[in-house]
Symmetry: C2
Subunit: 341 residues, 2 copies
């Protein structure tokens, strides 16, 4: 996992060899951390910084921290943020790219509901044009351009983590529909099925999202089922069941963890096969915390779980694990200005 190729960082001096700089900034805004990168024309990071997301912060606190991380990444590349061609931001919540606003954010700072003008606020600090994009969609775009998706014209990215995010790239162009396409996690895999965090029933995420699996695991543990999951959580001093905890429990053949992950894979097989039957793209890119952590073995299991449901079965698309690692979101954000404009 994680092609070192894309993680190399240089000192960036060569960027100015001919008297001008061709570098882009990218920021991945997450619930716990802000990743910032500066990339050169080949898409490789030449500077990187990570700041914690301000806890309980207002939107403008968050933007100041984003600017701080961007400036630090720029310095690591031997630049300042004012020298960047442009800056892209990958964010969770409801992105309105044209308006440059971000709304309905639940786990960044203290969260907010109404559209907040993040693009213009960050542009005021960095003095560069800023473009917003959806966090999963930009990560998928990065994998398409520079990672596991390179051999394919069209891909479906499935980001398996706390929730299940998704992104479609069709003939090289990110397909966002009217702004909300790619919600593979909210495709219904079982009518009147399990309750999802979104309030609906039977969504893929209800079975396979890490948050929903944790709730299910806790219910089973409270009902007396034996599991090491929560013991591992205490040992590692984590507030929730992280991907590495799930991974460890699977390795230890914990019965509950195995059962829940088996069910998740089975349901992902159903939902992702349905997505393939509709879109007939050439590959599935499996990313996200759980997706990249579980890696090729589980990508193969997912392929087999899809198999009974794929219509054009003679050319079922491969399931490839995301290759850019933790920086895919920030790199994809940096590609936004090139990619979308």
């Amino acid at each position: 996992m994680g092609a070192p190729r894309a993680l190399e960082t240089g000192d960036g001096r060569s960027r100015r060899a001919h008297g001008r700089v061709r570098a882009w900034g990218g920021i991945d805004l997450g619930g716990t951390k802000i990743e910032a990168v500066v990339i050169g024309p080949d898409g490789r990071p030449i500077g990187h910084a990570r700041h914690p997301t301000p806890v309980e912060g207002e939107p403008d606190d968050v933007v100041r921290e984003m600017y701080g991380a961007l400036e630090e990444a720029s310095r690591a590349a031997g630049l300042t943020s004012r020298m960047l061609v442009g800056v892209g931001v990958g964010a969770p919540g409801a992105v309105d790219r044209k308006a440059g606003t971000l709304a309905r954010v639940s786990n960044v700072g203290k969260g907010w509901v109404e559209p907040y003008p993040m693009a213009s606020d960050l542009a005021d600090l960095a003095h560069r044009p800023v473009v917003l994009g959806n966090d999963v969609q930009v990560a998928v775009a990065a994998e398409y351009r520079l990672g596991a998706g390179r051999p394919y014209r069209s891909v479906l990215g499935v980001w398996w983590g706390t929730g299940i995010g998704g992104g479609l790239i069709l003939d090289g162009v990110p397909w966002i529909g009217r702004g909300a396409a790619g919600e593979v996690g909210h495709m219904v895999v079982k009518p009147d099925g399990a309750r999802c965090g979104c309030g609906r029933r039977g969504c893929l995420e209800a079975y396979a999202g890490r948050a929903n699996m944790e709730r299910e695991a806790r219910k089973a543990a409270n009902a007396g089922e034996k599991t090491e999951l929560f013991e591992l959580m205490r040992k590692k001093d984590r507030p929730r069941l992280t991907s590495s905890i799930w991974m460890k429990a699977l390795k230890d053949e914990d019965a509950l963890a195995t059962r829940l992950i088996d069910r998740a894979i089975r349901m992902m097989g159903v939902g992702i096969a349905s997505a393939i039957n509709l879109t007939d793209v050439g590959a599935v890119i499996l990313g996200g915390g759980l997706g990249t952590r579980l890696g090729p073995t589980y990508a193969k299991r997912l392929f087999h779980a899809m198999h009974p449901h794929v219509f054009a079965v003679e050319r079922q698309p491969p399931v490839c694990v995301a290759a850019l690692g933790e920086l895919s979101g920030a790199i994809g954000a940096a590609l936004l200005s090139e990619f979308f404009q």
Copy 2:
């Protein structure tokens, strides 16, 4: 249903007013009939002919009959097929557009499995270039250009008939993936669910396709459940439960027909909502024999059945009934040369 606008036919003489003809031929190849149209630059039919599909015919018998229908439609437009700019064919089965071949055809003539060079065979007779397309995809394209889809940039067509076909048009371009996109009927709506004609389980088509509903109805009738469905079939001297028979039974409040159609609508709500959550297109176009026959009342019911499952629920796309009627397939086929090339 069926905008008369698109069904008007002229004598076509005006097409040659300036010494040249701008007209395209389109053929919709079905299991029971071959519809041929000739359209002018505005997409309206200026000639039309319908021939029965040769029963038990070899592929070349089918092609000769297609040519006969095309020639007749051309004459109705005051032309001959040699004067057409090009000819499009909408066909069931596996279309390879580049190769101009049609494979895996089960209900045309005696059917065939291996790729048959339909485009070149028809071109040899008509002396015009011939393009093949999928029957449902071309019908959806026609609705997009000239029918119910006109107000929208992107649509999902759902063709509800013997099976459930589908077609995506994204920002004006038919999305065919690697050739097999749009199989909304084979999205899985229930894991390990009802057996589908395709051999898999739990496909939308297993619940909502007319052929599968007929099988289910027969099973129930054989088990003693009262229904007028098969009585209507005998009275109308039909070999199977046609859309008009279902319509009549629903009007008469036949309990079995009502139950099966209710279930079909419920499952279509699940599958089509999932398709919307993935693609976020602006509208659903409901076509096909059952779709157009059941019309706006059932389109509205489908909209409500989708509602609990749509993620971006504040702007759930409308469900519109196809407006071009029986000729949408042939018109869409005629648009192929313009549309795809």
